[in-house]
């Protein structure tokens, strides 16, 4: 069997196991897996903009929160079923990305990063302000529903989608063009590449996943409040996962999500108070010691194809 066939077979096996998982796993197990899927969506989406184009999105969790609120409001106030509400969450996030991205992506590196940093705070402020709609600081409750298992599947499908999209982009000329933005934006423009438009497309794509994931999470938890869906910790975790696994690769964010989620569960249950400190330390360590991440290093060392 060729290497490619073997890889696809392995992938199919993993998918089969994951599909059958809810049948034999405990409630906690399904919830945990659901969270891993969520992190894969978040990390891979962040990778689309920051890993490929090099534009560091520091407030990416804003899209998660926007999707969460959009989805929750539609379910709680407009009686929508949760699946269309989740998709609407994705749409809401993309719209937000359009509004913010269109002006902000024109900014060079650090300016863009800071603009995104502020986005999070602003959304939180807006949510508090429009209390009537969002429940403000008191949060929003959704009608009770035990849909963890279907949500597991939808989240899993989303994770698969984002990974697939990443693969498609990285193997296309569109993806190459995104990378030239990271490599040398001035040269890219001189070669006729409309960097503004490309950045915007990547940015919009990177917002959809988190938006959907946010709405799904809101539905699963049954309750959201500003702090739970706009936490800075989520952005950090996203970033660390991608850095650790390998930014700019296809499977790096997936690897990072799985490894760091497991690590986080272990650490968090034992040392709940130190966990952001630990994560801060991990970011520092990864940035200084292995900025390319595990897969990034392997890729260079063993000349692996970019689709790793």
């Amino acid at each position: 069997m060729t290497r490619r066939r073997a890889a696809l077979a392995a992938l199919a096996a993993v998918v089969a196991v994951l599909a059958a998982y809810p049948a034999f796993a405990s409630g906690y197990g399904v919830r945990a897996a659901l969270q891993v899927f969520m992190w894969i969506v978040l990390a891979s989406s962040w990778n689309l903009i920051s890993g490929l184009t090099g534009y560091v999105s520091f407030g990416h969790v804003a899209f998660f929160g926007a999707g969460a609120y959009a989805g929750a409001i539609l379910v709680a106030k407009a009686g929508w079923p949760w699946l269309p509400a989740a998709l609407a969450g994705g749409v809401a996030a993309v719209l937000l990305a359009l509004v913010i991205g269109y002006p902000c992506l024109r900014l060079r590196g650090p300016y863009f990063a800071i603009a995104m940093l502020g986005l999070n705070e602003v959304l939180r402020a807006l949510v508090s302000y429009f209390e009537g709609l969002t429940g403000g600081g008191n949060g929003l409750s959704l009608p009770t529903l035990d849909a963890t298992i279907p949500i597991y599947y939808v989240m899993g499908a989303s994770a698969a989608m984002v990974t697939l999209v990443t693969h498609a982009i990285i193997t296309s000329r569109f993806g190459l063009r995104l990378m030239t933005i990271r490599e040398d934006e001035v040269a890219a423009e001189a070669m006729g590449i409309d960097t503004g438009r490309h950045k915007l497309y990547a940015f919009l794509l990177s917002a959809a996943g988190p938006g959907i994931a946010g709405a799904l999470t809101a539905r699963d938890q049954g309750y959201i409040e500003p702090i739970s869906v706009f936490p800075l910790a989520t952005t950090i975790t996203m970033i660390v996962m991608v850095l650790f696994g390998g930014k700019g690769t296809v499977w790096g964010p997936v690897l990072g999500a799985v490894v760091l989620f497991v690590a986080q569960e272990v650490v968090w249950t034992r040392y709940p108070y130190v966990h952001p400190l630990l994560f801060g330390a991990i970011i520092v360590a990864v940035v200084l010691l292995m900025p390319r991440g595990v897969l990034g290093i392997l890729q260079i060392r063993y000349r692996l194809p970019r689709t790793i």
């Binding site: 920051s50 090099g54 560091v56 520091f58 913010i100 002006p103 902000c104 024109r106 900014l107 060079r108 590196g109 650090p110 300016y111 990063a113 800071i114 603009a115 940093l117 502020g118 986005l119 705070e121 602003v122 402020a125 807006l126 508090s128 302000y129 800075l232 950090i236 970033i239 850095l243 108070y273 130190v274 952001p276 400190l277 994560f279 801060g280 330390a281 991990i282 970011i283 520092v284 940035v287 200084l288 900025p291």
Partner: protein, 284 residues
């Protein structure tokens, strides 16, 4: 009414300017966005708080101490971590200072808990004509003005200050002129931390102290720099006052929460229209 707003704006503007000057220095000299700037301010506030509650002294006397403590912290951070990303791509320095900022905030949460603290020293306002001036804000203004003035004198008239400005303009030329650029980076970072700490110390008397208090300051400092122009140090003064004024005016019509939104929209608009800042500066 308008007069009150203008005065309030100028009072807070000086504080913004002083803290932002620190960020501007780091950006100008080292080309690094110090996302950990806010947490440094926060640590300055806590230093003042603890000195005040332990020794019962006039908190304003602790300003130099806070500045000194954070100068040392800044130098240590630069010496151990930040110096490694000075020549790295922007992503690395952003993430590194981001990581440091998260670690510092969490450290504060662990050591000091998230309980709100306050330094209740100077409350109430002086009434001057038709205006009510918050005492603590007025004193903060005086200190901030003095410290910023001193900072500019330092930059403009001392040998070290000039070396810092030279490095900020061109690192290569500075090196050729015999300036020890590593040392300049060290001192600049420490100085910036000290300025942030001064801001924190002064703010400690005005607002509640908690580990997350610095976050919004990082953002506003950046807004100030954008307003005044990157690498343009006097611009930070103008930017600070401008931000103060705009915030106060906005608060007439909107709640304080929304004034943050105003600041953000302002940032985006300025960056779109004039990315080099109102006074003109360097684009990255």
């Amino acid at each position: 009414m308008l007069g009150q707003v203008v005065i309030s704006g100028i009072l807070s503007g000086a504080l913004y300017a002083m803290v932002a000057l620190g960020l501007a220095l780091i950006f100008g000299v080292m080309r690094i966005i110090n996302v950990a700037h806010g947490p440094l301010l926060m640590l300055g506030a806590y230093t003042t708080y603890f000195l005040y509650s332990a020794l019962g002294v006039n908190p304003y006397l602790t300003v130099p101490v806070s500045m000194l403590v954070l100068f040392v912290v800044g130098v240590l951070l630069e010496r151990t971590l930040v110096f490694r990303v000075v020549d790295a791509p922007e992503l690395s320095s952003l993430l590194l200072t981001f990581g440091i900022s998260i670690a510092l905030v969490n450290l504060a949460q662990l050591l000091f808990t998230s309980d709100l603290r306050a330094v209740e020293y100077l409350t109430g306002s002086w009434v001057v004509g038709p205006f009510a001036l918050s005492k603590s804000r007025l004193v903060a203004f005086v200190f901030a003005g003095a410290l910023t003035g001193l900072a500019f004198l330092f930059l403009g008239w001392t040998k070290l200050g000039k070396a810092i400005r030279a490095t900020s303009q061109s690192r290569e030329v500075a090196m050729v002129c015999g300036i020890n650029v590593q040392r300049i980076h060290l001192i600049t970072f420490g100085l910036a931390a000290a300025l942030a700490a001064a801001g924190g110390a002064l703010i400690a008397v005005i607002v509640a102290i908690q580990p997350e208090m610095g976050q919004i300051w990082t953002f506003k400092s950046f807004l100030v720099i954008v307003l005044g122009g990157a690498g343009n140090y006097p611009g930070a003064l103008l930017g600070g006052v401008l931000l103060g004024l705009i915030e106060q005016v906005a608060s007439l019509f909107l709640t304080t929460q929304l004034s943050e939104v105003v600041a953000y929209v302002l940032l985006v608009v300025i960056l779109l229209v004039r990315p080099t800042g109102l006074l003109g500066g360097r684009q990255t």
